[in-house]
Protein backbone atom coordinates (compact mmCIF):
# COMPACT_ATOMS: atom_id res chain seq x y z
CA UNK A 1 0.00 0.00 0.00
CA UNK A 2 2.65 2.51 1.08
CA UNK A 3 4.85 1.34 -1.81
CA UNK A 4 2.09 2.07 -4.28
CA UNK A 5 1.33 5.35 -2.60
CA UNK A 6 4.99 6.36 -2.80
CA UNK A 7 5.20 5.26 -6.44
CA UNK A 8 2.04 7.17 -7.24
CA UNK A 9 3.31 10.31 -5.53
CA UNK A 10 6.66 10.04 -7.32
CA UNK A 11 4.89 9.58 -10.64
CA UNK A 12 2.66 12.58 -10.05
CA UNK A 13 5.63 14.74 -9.02
CA UNK A 14 7.58 13.71 -12.12
CA UNK A 15 4.59 14.41 -14.36
CA UNK A 16 4.20 17.78 -12.65
CA UNK A 17 7.86 18.71 -13.23
CA UNK A 18 7.73 17.56 -16.86
CA UNK A 19 4.52 19.53 -17.37
CA UNK A 20 6.09 22.68 -15.93
CA UNK A 21 9.18 22.20 -18.11
CA UNK A 22 7.02 21.91 -21.20
CA UNK A 23 5.10 25.05 -20.30
CA UNK A 24 8.29 27.00 -19.55
CA UNK A 25 9.69 26.00 -22.95
CA UNK A 26 6.48 27.02 -24.71
CA UNK A 27 6.53 30.32 -22.79
CA UNK A 28 10.14 30.90 -23.88
CA UNK A 29 9.19 30.37 -27.51
CA UNK A 30 6.33 32.84 -27.21
CA UNK A 31 8.50 35.40 -25.44
CA UNK A 32 11.15 35.17 -28.17
CA UNK A 33 8.51 35.55 -30.84
CA UNK A 34 7.18 38.71 -29.20
CA UNK A 35 10.73 40.06 -28.83
CA UNK A 36 11.09 40.31 -32.58
CA UNK A 37 7.70 41.86 -33.23
CA UNK A 38 7.29 45.62 -33.18
CA UNK A 39 6.63 47.73 -31.26
CA UNK A 40 9.37 47.62 -28.67
CA UNK A 41 8.27 49.32 -25.43
CA UNK A 42 11.33 51.54 -25.01
CA UNK A 43 10.29 53.28 -21.84
CA UNK A 44 9.68 49.96 -20.11
CA UNK A 45 13.05 48.69 -21.30
CA UNK A 46 14.83 51.70 -19.81
CA UNK A 47 12.96 51.36 -16.52
CA UNK A 48 13.92 47.69 -16.35
CA UNK A 49 17.57 48.38 -17.21
CA UNK A 50 17.68 50.64 -14.17
CA UNK A 51 15.72 48.21 -11.99
CA UNK A 52 17.61 45.07 -12.97
CA UNK A 53 21.03 46.43 -13.89
CA UNK A 54 21.83 49.61 -12.03
CA UNK A 55 20.09 48.74 -8.77
CA UNK A 56 21.73 45.29 -8.63
CA UNK A 57 25.22 46.80 -8.62
CA UNK A 58 25.58 47.07 -4.81
CA UNK A 59 24.55 43.45 -4.20
CA UNK A 60 26.70 42.04 -6.99
CA UNK A 61 29.64 44.27 -6.04
CA UNK A 62 29.61 43.29 -2.36
CA UNK A 63 29.27 39.62 -3.22
CA UNK A 64 32.25 39.83 -5.58
CA UNK A 65 34.38 41.79 -3.12
CA UNK A 66 34.13 39.24 -0.33
CA UNK A 67 34.27 36.27 -2.68
CA UNK A 68 37.50 37.57 -4.25
CA UNK A 69 39.02 38.04 -0.81
CA UNK A 70 38.07 34.60 0.43
CA UNK A 71 39.21 33.02 -2.82
CA UNK A 72 42.68 34.56 -2.48
CA UNK A 73 42.95 33.21 1.08
CA UNK A 74 41.95 29.69 0.03
CA UNK A 75 44.18 29.57 -3.00
CA UNK A 76 47.07 30.80 -0.91
CA UNK A 77 46.46 28.04 1.63
CA UNK A 78 46.28 25.46 -1.17
CA UNK A 79 49.24 26.64 -3.23
CA UNK A 80 51.45 27.02 -0.14
CA UNK A 81 51.33 23.21 0.20
CA UNK A 82 53.52 22.89 -2.88
CA UNK A 83 55.26 26.26 -2.72
CA UNK A 84 53.31 27.78 -5.59
CA UNK A 85 52.18 30.97 -3.84
CA UNK A 86 53.15 33.02 -6.89
CA UNK A 87 50.07 31.56 -8.65
CA UNK A 88 47.62 33.19 -6.21
CA UNK A 89 46.89 36.34 -8.29
CA UNK A 90 46.29 34.58 -11.59
CA UNK A 91 44.27 31.68 -10.20
CA UNK A 92 42.16 34.01 -8.09
CA UNK A 93 41.44 36.09 -11.18
CA UNK A 94 40.63 33.08 -13.35
CA UNK A 95 38.37 31.56 -10.70
CA UNK A 96 36.61 34.85 -10.31
CA UNK A 97 36.00 35.79 -13.95
CA UNK A 98 35.28 32.33 -15.29
CA UNK A 99 33.20 30.86 -12.52
CA UNK A 100 32.39 32.68 -9.32
CA UNK A 101 31.70 36.11 -10.82
CA UNK A 102 28.97 34.95 -13.17
CA UNK A 103 27.55 32.19 -10.93
CA UNK A 104 27.37 34.09 -7.65
CA UNK A 105 26.35 37.28 -9.44
CA UNK A 106 23.66 35.31 -11.25
CA UNK A 107 22.38 33.74 -8.03
CA UNK A 108 22.28 37.10 -6.26
CA UNK A 109 20.39 38.61 -9.18
CA UNK A 110 18.08 35.59 -9.15
CA UNK A 111 17.25 36.29 -5.52
CA UNK A 112 16.77 39.99 -6.11
CA UNK A 113 15.24 40.16 -9.56
CA UNK A 114 13.40 36.88 -10.25
CA UNK A 115 11.47 37.38 -7.02
CA UNK A 116 10.57 40.99 -7.69
CA UNK A 117 9.53 40.30 -11.29
CA UNK A 118 7.34 37.37 -10.22
CA UNK A 119 5.78 39.35 -7.38
CA UNK A 120 5.12 42.41 -9.54
CA UNK A 121 3.63 40.57 -12.50
CA UNK A 122 1.77 38.18 -10.20
CA UNK A 123 0.18 41.09 -8.35
CA UNK A 124 -0.74 42.67 -11.67
CA UNK A 125 -2.42 39.44 -12.70
CA UNK A 126 -4.32 39.05 -9.44
CA UNK A 127 -5.55 42.66 -9.54
CA UNK A 128 -6.71 42.29 -13.17
CA UNK A 129 -4.08 44.73 -14.47
CA UNK A 130 -2.99 42.17 -17.06
CA UNK A 131 -6.59 41.89 -18.28
CA UNK A 132 -6.75 45.68 -18.34
CA UNK A 133 -3.61 45.85 -20.50
CA UNK A 134 -5.22 43.57 -23.05
CA UNK A 135 -8.40 45.62 -23.18
CA UNK A 136 -6.20 48.67 -23.85
CA UNK A 137 -4.64 47.10 -26.96
CA UNK A 138 -1.36 46.11 -25.31
CA UNK A 139 -0.03 42.56 -25.39
CA UNK A 140 1.20 41.70 -21.87
CA UNK A 141 3.98 39.47 -23.20
CA UNK A 142 5.32 42.37 -25.21
CA UNK A 143 4.80 45.05 -22.59
CA UNK A 144 5.91 43.13 -19.48
CA UNK A 145 7.99 40.09 -20.47
CA UNK A 146 10.05 41.35 -23.42
CA UNK A 147 11.52 44.45 -21.69
CA UNK A 148 12.47 42.40 -18.63
CA UNK A 149 14.09 39.64 -20.69
CA UNK A 150 16.04 42.13 -22.77
CA UNK A 151 17.07 44.25 -19.80
CA UNK A 152 18.30 41.26 -17.79
CA UNK A 153 20.14 39.76 -20.77
CA UNK A 154 21.86 43.06 -21.54
CA UNK A 155 22.57 44.12 -17.96
CA UNK A 156 23.96 40.86 -16.57
CA UNK A 157 27.19 40.78 -18.66
CA UNK A 158 27.95 44.32 -17.50
CA UNK A 159 27.21 43.35 -13.90
CA UNK A 160 29.50 40.35 -14.30
CA UNK A 161 32.29 42.52 -15.68
CA UNK A 162 31.97 44.98 -12.82
CA UNK A 163 31.80 42.08 -10.36
CA UNK A 164 34.98 40.60 -11.91
CA UNK A 165 36.87 43.83 -11.40
CA UNK A 166 35.66 44.20 -7.82
CA UNK A 167 36.39 40.53 -7.06
CA UNK A 168 39.95 40.86 -8.36
CA UNK A 169 40.26 43.98 -6.25
CA UNK A 170 39.10 41.99 -3.21
CA UNK A 171 41.77 39.38 -3.91
CA UNK A 172 44.33 42.13 -4.35
CA UNK A 173 43.42 43.78 -1.05
CA UNK A 174 43.73 40.49 0.84
CA UNK A 175 46.87 39.52 -1.08
CA UNK A 176 48.65 42.75 -0.32
CA UNK A 177 47.46 43.36 3.24
CA UNK A 178 47.30 39.81 4.62
CA UNK A 179 49.45 37.56 2.45
CA UNK A 180 52.46 39.81 1.96
CA UNK A 181 52.28 40.28 -1.82
CA UNK A 182 53.83 43.30 -3.47
CA UNK A 183 51.00 45.43 -4.93
CA UNK A 184 52.33 46.07 -8.46
CA UNK A 185 53.53 42.47 -8.81
CA UNK A 186 50.11 41.14 -7.80
CA UNK A 187 48.39 43.26 -10.44
CA UNK A 188 50.95 42.41 -13.14
CA UNK A 189 50.54 38.69 -12.41
CA UNK A 190 46.79 39.04 -12.68
CA UNK A 191 46.78 40.92 -15.96
CA UNK A 192 49.54 38.92 -17.64
CA UNK A 193 47.85 35.59 -17.16
CA UNK A 194 44.25 36.62 -17.83
CA UNK A 195 43.09 35.92 -21.40
CA UNK A 196 40.29 37.66 -23.15
CA UNK A 197 38.13 34.54 -23.36
CA UNK A 198 38.39 34.05 -19.58
CA UNK A 199 36.50 37.28 -19.14
CA UNK A 200 34.40 36.92 -22.31
CA UNK A 201 33.12 33.45 -21.40
CA UNK A 202 32.04 34.77 -18.00
CA UNK A 203 30.13 37.58 -19.63
CA UNK A 204 28.41 35.19 -22.04
CA UNK A 205 27.42 33.10 -19.03
CA UNK A 206 26.11 36.28 -17.44
CA UNK A 207 23.90 37.02 -20.44
CA UNK A 208 22.44 33.51 -20.34
CA UNK A 209 21.87 33.70 -16.57
CA UNK A 210 20.21 37.09 -16.91
CA UNK A 211 17.84 35.69 -19.51
CA UNK A 212 17.03 32.70 -17.28
CA UNK A 213 16.39 34.91 -14.24
CA UNK A 214 13.94 37.17 -16.09
CA UNK A 215 12.33 34.17 -17.78
CA UNK A 216 11.62 32.44 -14.45
CA UNK A 217 10.27 35.63 -12.92
CA UNK A 218 8.00 36.38 -15.86
CA UNK A 219 6.79 32.80 -16.26
CA UNK A 220 5.74 32.38 -12.65
CA UNK A 221 4.35 35.91 -12.46
CA UNK A 222 2.17 35.36 -15.52
CA UNK A 223 1.00 31.98 -14.17
CA UNK A 224 0.48 33.18 -10.61
CA UNK A 225 -2.46 31.72 -8.72
CA UNK A 226 -5.17 33.92 -7.25
CA UNK A 227 -4.68 35.96 -4.08
CA UNK A 228 -1.70 36.76 -1.90
CA UNK A 229 -0.90 33.09 -1.47
CA UNK A 230 -0.73 32.59 -5.22
CA UNK A 231 1.72 35.49 -5.57
CA UNK A 232 3.85 34.19 -2.69
CA UNK A 233 4.01 30.77 -4.28
CA UNK A 234 4.93 32.29 -7.66
CA UNK A 235 7.74 34.33 -6.08
CA UNK A 236 9.23 31.32 -4.37
CA UNK A 237 9.01 29.13 -7.46
CA UNK A 238 10.64 31.82 -9.60
CA UNK A 239 13.72 32.03 -7.36
CA UNK A 240 14.02 28.25 -7.10
CA UNK A 241 13.71 27.69 -10.84
CA UNK A 242 16.08 30.56 -11.67
CA UNK A 243 18.73 29.18 -9.30
CA UNK A 244 18.46 25.63 -10.63
CA UNK A 245 18.57 26.81 -14.24
CA UNK A 246 21.63 28.98 -13.54
CA UNK A 247 23.57 26.13 -11.94
CA UNK A 248 22.59 23.69 -14.68
CA UNK A 249 23.34 26.13 -17.48
CA UNK A 250 26.66 26.98 -15.83
CA UNK A 251 27.80 23.39 -15.95
CA UNK A 252 26.69 22.94 -19.55
CA UNK A 253 28.31 26.20 -20.68
CA UNK A 254 31.55 25.36 -18.88
CA UNK A 255 31.59 22.00 -20.65
CA UNK A 256 30.93 23.68 -23.97
CA UNK A 257 33.52 26.42 -23.50
CA UNK A 258 36.42 24.67 -21.85
CA UNK A 259 36.33 20.89 -22.36
CA UNK A 260 38.58 19.35 -25.01
Amino acid sequence: MTVFATLGATGRATAGILGTMGRVIAFTGQALMWTFRPPLHWRELLVQLVQIGWLSLPVVGLTALFTGGALALQIYAGSARFSAEFAVPSITAIGMVRELGPVLGGLMVAARVASSIAAEIGTMKVSEQIDALRTLAVEPMQYLTVPRLLAATLAMPVLVAVGDAIGILGGYAVGVSRLGFDGPTYLRNTLDFLEFWDVGSGMVKGAVFGFLVALSGCYFGMHSGRGAQGVGEATKSAVVLASILILTANYLLTEAFFSA
Binding site: T123, S127, E128, A132
Partner: protein
Protein backbone atom coordinates in the same frame (compact mmCIF):
# COMPACT_ATOMS: atom_id res chain seq x y z
CA UNK B 1 -24.11 45.77 -31.25
CA UNK B 2 -23.60 42.94 -28.78
CA UNK B 3 -24.84 39.43 -29.33
CA UNK B 4 -24.15 36.41 -27.14
CA UNK B 5 -25.30 33.00 -28.23
CA UNK B 6 -25.48 30.00 -25.91
CA UNK B 7 -22.45 30.90 -23.77
CA UNK B 8 -21.27 28.18 -21.42
CA UNK B 9 -18.47 28.78 -18.95
CA UNK B 10 -17.27 26.50 -16.17
CA UNK B 11 -14.33 26.63 -13.78
CA UNK B 12 -13.48 23.01 -13.04
CA UNK B 13 -16.69 21.30 -12.04
CA UNK B 14 -18.39 24.60 -11.28
CA UNK B 15 -20.80 25.67 -13.99
CA UNK B 16 -21.04 29.44 -13.93
CA UNK B 17 -22.75 30.33 -17.21
CA UNK B 18 -25.14 27.76 -18.63
CA UNK B 19 -26.11 28.61 -22.16
CA UNK B 20 -26.85 32.29 -21.85
CA UNK B 21 -28.08 34.16 -24.95
CA UNK B 22 -28.98 37.82 -25.37
CA UNK B 23 -28.57 40.89 -27.53
CA UNK B 24 -27.98 44.54 -26.80
CA UNK B 25 -29.03 47.05 -29.45
CA UNK B 26 -26.86 49.96 -30.49
CA UNK B 27 -27.47 52.85 -28.08
CA UNK B 28 -29.16 50.65 -25.51
CA UNK B 29 -28.22 50.49 -21.83
CA UNK B 30 -28.51 47.03 -20.31
CA UNK B 31 -28.14 46.66 -16.57
CA UNK B 32 -27.30 43.20 -15.24
CA UNK B 33 -28.18 42.36 -11.66
CA UNK B 34 -27.79 39.10 -9.79
CA UNK B 35 -26.45 37.58 -6.62
CA UNK B 36 -22.82 37.75 -5.63
CA UNK B 37 -20.84 35.03 -7.35
CA UNK B 38 -23.44 34.23 -10.01
CA UNK B 39 -21.02 35.04 -12.83
CA UNK B 40 -21.72 38.65 -13.82
CA UNK B 41 -18.06 39.61 -14.02
CA UNK B 42 -17.28 36.37 -15.83
CA UNK B 43 -19.98 37.21 -18.37
CA UNK B 44 -18.34 40.57 -19.14
CA UNK B 45 -14.95 38.90 -19.48
CA UNK B 46 -16.41 36.40 -21.94
CA UNK B 47 -17.85 39.26 -23.99
CA UNK B 48 -14.44 40.96 -24.02
CA UNK B 49 -12.56 37.78 -24.91
CA UNK B 50 -10.61 37.88 -21.64
CA UNK B 51 -12.11 34.55 -20.65
CA UNK B 52 -12.69 31.95 -23.30
CA UNK B 53 -16.19 30.47 -23.13
CA UNK B 54 -16.38 26.67 -23.18
CA UNK B 55 -19.08 26.91 -25.83
CA UNK B 56 -21.07 29.55 -27.66
CA UNK B 57 -20.20 32.62 -29.69
CA UNK B 58 -19.93 36.30 -28.92
CA UNK B 59 -20.30 39.17 -31.33
CA UNK B 60 -19.27 42.66 -30.28
CA UNK B 61 -19.17 45.71 -32.59
CA UNK B 62 -19.43 43.47 -35.63
CA UNK B 63 -16.54 41.19 -34.62
CA UNK B 64 -17.09 37.51 -33.83
CA UNK B 65 -15.22 36.05 -30.84
CA UNK B 66 -12.71 38.91 -30.95
CA UNK B 67 -9.43 39.14 -29.05
CA UNK B 68 -9.50 41.92 -26.45
CA UNK B 69 -6.67 43.80 -28.17
CA UNK B 70 -8.71 44.06 -31.36
CA UNK B 71 -11.72 45.37 -29.46
CA UNK B 72 -9.68 48.00 -27.63
CA UNK B 73 -10.74 50.95 -29.76
CA UNK B 74 -14.39 49.82 -29.67
CA UNK B 75 -14.89 48.92 -26.04
CA UNK B 76 -14.15 50.69 -22.76
CA UNK B 77 -14.09 48.51 -19.67
CA UNK B 78 -14.32 49.44 -16.01
CA UNK B 79 -13.06 46.52 -13.94
CA UNK B 80 -14.70 45.62 -10.65
CA UNK B 81 -11.47 46.31 -8.76
CA UNK B 82 -10.43 49.31 -10.85
CA UNK B 83 -7.36 47.47 -12.23
CA UNK B 84 -5.30 50.68 -12.43
CA UNK B 85 -1.61 50.34 -13.28
CA UNK B 86 0.25 50.96 -10.01
CA UNK B 87 3.45 52.05 -11.72
CA UNK B 88 1.86 54.91 -13.66
CA UNK B 89 0.38 58.20 -12.43
CA UNK B 90 -3.36 58.72 -12.80
CA UNK B 91 -3.15 60.76 -16.00
CA UNK B 92 -1.08 58.09 -17.76
CA UNK B 93 -3.54 55.46 -16.61
CA UNK B 94 -6.41 57.37 -18.18
CA UNK B 95 -4.65 58.16 -21.45
CA UNK B 96 -2.84 54.79 -21.57
CA UNK B 97 -4.19 53.55 -24.88
CA UNK B 98 -4.25 56.97 -26.51
CA UNK B 99 -0.53 57.47 -25.77
CA UNK B 100 0.38 54.42 -27.85
CA UNK B 101 -0.01 53.34 -31.44
CA UNK B 102 0.16 55.33 -34.65
CA UNK B 103 -2.14 58.22 -33.77
CA UNK B 104 -0.66 58.72 -30.32
CA UNK B 105 -1.29 61.89 -28.38
CA UNK B 106 1.52 64.14 -27.24
CA UNK B 107 2.20 64.22 -23.50
CA UNK B 108 0.53 67.60 -23.08
CA UNK B 109 -2.57 66.58 -25.06
CA UNK B 110 -2.79 63.31 -23.11
CA UNK B 111 -2.58 65.21 -19.85
CA UNK B 112 -5.24 67.69 -20.91
CA UNK B 113 -7.53 64.86 -21.97
CA UNK B 114 -6.96 63.03 -18.67
CA UNK B 115 -7.82 66.16 -16.69
CA UNK B 116 -11.00 66.65 -18.70
CA UNK B 117 -12.07 63.03 -18.09
CA UNK B 118 -11.22 63.34 -14.39
CA UNK B 119 -13.57 66.32 -14.15
CA UNK B 120 -16.36 64.19 -15.64
CA UNK B 121 -16.00 61.66 -12.83
CA UNK B 122 -15.87 64.39 -10.18
CA UNK B 123 -12.11 64.50 -9.58
CA UNK B 124 -10.00 67.65 -9.68
CA UNK B 125 -6.88 68.19 -11.80
CA UNK B 126 -4.61 67.74 -8.78
CA UNK B 127 -5.51 64.02 -8.88
CA UNK B 128 -3.80 63.65 -12.27
CA UNK B 129 -0.28 63.39 -10.87
CA UNK B 130 -1.04 61.06 -7.98
CA UNK B 131 -0.36 57.33 -8.15
CA UNK B 132 -3.19 54.79 -7.74
CA UNK B 133 -1.88 53.71 -4.33
CA UNK B 134 -2.43 57.29 -3.09
CA UNK B 135 -6.16 57.20 -3.92
CA UNK B 136 -9.11 55.95 -1.88
CA UNK B 137 -11.04 52.94 -3.18
CA UNK B 138 -13.84 55.09 -4.53
CA UNK B 139 -11.38 57.44 -6.23
CA UNK B 140 -9.64 54.49 -7.88
CA UNK B 141 -12.98 53.32 -9.15
CA UNK B 142 -13.69 56.70 -10.69
CA UNK B 143 -10.25 56.86 -12.33
CA UNK B 144 -11.01 53.43 -13.79
CA UNK B 145 -14.24 54.88 -15.14
CA UNK B 146 -12.36 57.84 -16.62
CA UNK B 147 -9.99 55.40 -18.33
CA UNK B 148 -12.92 53.41 -19.73
CA UNK B 149 -14.52 56.46 -21.34
CA UNK B 150 -11.22 58.12 -22.35
CA UNK B 151 -11.31 57.18 -26.04
CA UNK B 152 -15.09 57.74 -26.41
CA UNK B 153 -15.63 54.08 -27.36
CA UNK B 154 -18.99 53.07 -28.86
CA UNK B 155 -19.37 50.16 -26.41
CA UNK B 156 -18.90 50.43 -22.64
CA UNK B 157 -18.80 47.76 -19.96
CA UNK B 158 -19.06 48.85 -16.33
CA UNK B 159 -18.53 46.35 -13.52
CA UNK B 160 -20.17 47.88 -10.43
CA UNK B 161 -19.45 51.54 -11.24
CA UNK B 162 -20.95 52.88 -8.00
CA UNK B 163 -19.64 50.28 -5.54
CA UNK B 164 -17.77 52.01 -2.74
CA UNK B 165 -19.01 55.52 -3.60
CA UNK B 166 -21.00 57.87 -1.40
CA UNK B 167 -24.63 58.46 -2.52
CA UNK B 168 -23.87 61.84 -4.09
CA UNK B 169 -20.93 60.55 -6.09
CA UNK B 170 -22.99 57.49 -7.08
CA UNK B 171 -25.63 59.84 -8.49
CA UNK B 172 -22.94 61.74 -10.42
CA UNK B 173 -21.66 58.49 -11.93
CA UNK B 174 -25.14 57.25 -12.79
CA UNK B 175 -25.81 60.54 -14.56
CA UNK B 176 -22.51 60.24 -16.42
CA UNK B 177 -23.34 56.75 -17.68
CA UNK B 178 -26.80 57.91 -18.73
CA UNK B 179 -25.17 60.81 -20.55
CA UNK B 180 -22.64 58.78 -22.55
CA UNK B 181 -25.46 56.48 -23.62
CA UNK B 182 -28.03 59.12 -24.59
CA UNK B 183 -25.73 61.90 -25.82
CA UNK B 184 -22.97 59.94 -27.50
CA UNK B 185 -25.17 57.01 -28.53
CA UNK B 186 -22.91 54.49 -26.79
CA UNK B 187 -24.05 50.97 -26.00
CA UNK B 188 -23.54 50.08 -22.35
CA UNK B 189 -23.66 46.96 -20.21
CA UNK B 190 -23.57 47.82 -16.52
CA UNK B 191 -23.32 45.33 -13.67
CA UNK B 192 -24.62 46.63 -10.39
CA UNK B 193 -25.95 45.80 -6.95
CA UNK B 194 -27.17 49.39 -6.60
CA UNK B 195 -30.91 49.79 -7.17
CA UNK B 196 -30.41 53.52 -7.81
CA UNK B 197 -28.20 52.59 -10.77
CA UNK B 198 -30.89 50.21 -12.03
CA UNK B 199 -33.42 53.00 -11.78
CA UNK B 200 -31.27 55.75 -13.32
CA UNK B 201 -29.29 53.91 -15.98
CA UNK B 202 -31.26 50.94 -17.34
CA UNK B 203 -33.18 50.83 -20.59
CA UNK B 204 -33.48 47.16 -19.83
CA UNK B 205 -32.71 45.06 -16.77
CA UNK B 206 -31.59 41.44 -16.81
CA UNK B 207 -31.31 39.25 -13.76
CA UNK B 208 -28.55 36.64 -13.86
CA UNK B 209 -29.64 33.64 -11.84
CA UNK B 210 -28.40 30.05 -11.99
CA UNK B 211 -26.24 30.65 -15.06
CA UNK B 212 -28.88 32.28 -17.21
CA UNK B 213 -30.87 35.49 -17.62
CA UNK B 214 -33.78 34.49 -15.43
CA UNK B 215 -35.78 37.66 -16.00
CA UNK B 216 -35.61 40.65 -18.36
CA UNK B 217 -37.67 43.81 -18.52
CA UNK B 218 -37.64 47.57 -18.03
CA UNK B 219 -36.39 49.16 -14.82
CA UNK B 220 -39.96 49.99 -13.86
CA UNK B 221 -41.10 46.41 -14.42
CA UNK B 222 -38.13 45.18 -12.40
CA UNK B 223 -39.39 47.01 -9.33
CA UNK B 224 -43.06 46.19 -9.89
CA UNK B 225 -43.00 42.55 -10.96
CA UNK B 226 -44.59 39.88 -8.79
CA UNK B 227 -41.91 37.34 -9.65
CA UNK B 228 -40.72 36.02 -6.27
CA UNK B 229 -37.02 35.86 -7.24
CA UNK B 230 -37.04 39.44 -8.55
CA UNK B 231 -39.03 40.71 -5.59
CA UNK B 232 -36.67 39.14 -3.13
CA UNK B 233 -33.63 40.53 -4.94
CA UNK B 234 -34.74 44.10 -5.62
CA UNK B 235 -36.14 44.51 -2.13
CA UNK B 236 -33.28 42.69 -0.44
CA UNK B 237 -35.39 40.18 1.51
CA UNK B 238 -33.83 37.31 3.41
CA UNK B 239 -36.95 35.17 2.92
CA UNK B 240 -37.60 33.86 -0.59
CA UNK B 241 -36.53 31.43 -3.31
CA UNK B 242 -32.87 32.65 -3.41
CA UNK B 243 -30.94 30.91 -0.62
CA UNK B 244 -28.85 33.15 1.64
CA UNK B 245 -26.15 30.52 2.00
CA UNK B 246 -24.31 30.42 -1.34
Amino acid sequence: MIRARDIHKSFGAKKVLRGISFEVEKGESLVVIGGSGTGKSVLLKCLLGLERANAGTVEVAGLTDPKPQILAAQVGMLFQGGALFDSLPVWQNIAFRLMRGRARLSHSDAQALAIEKLARVGLGPETAHLFPAELSGGMQKRVGLARAIAGDPPVLFFDEPTAGLDPIMAAVINALIREVVSDLGATAVTITHDMRTVHDVADRVAMLHEGNFYWQGSAREAFETDDPVMRQFTQGLTEGPIPTLR
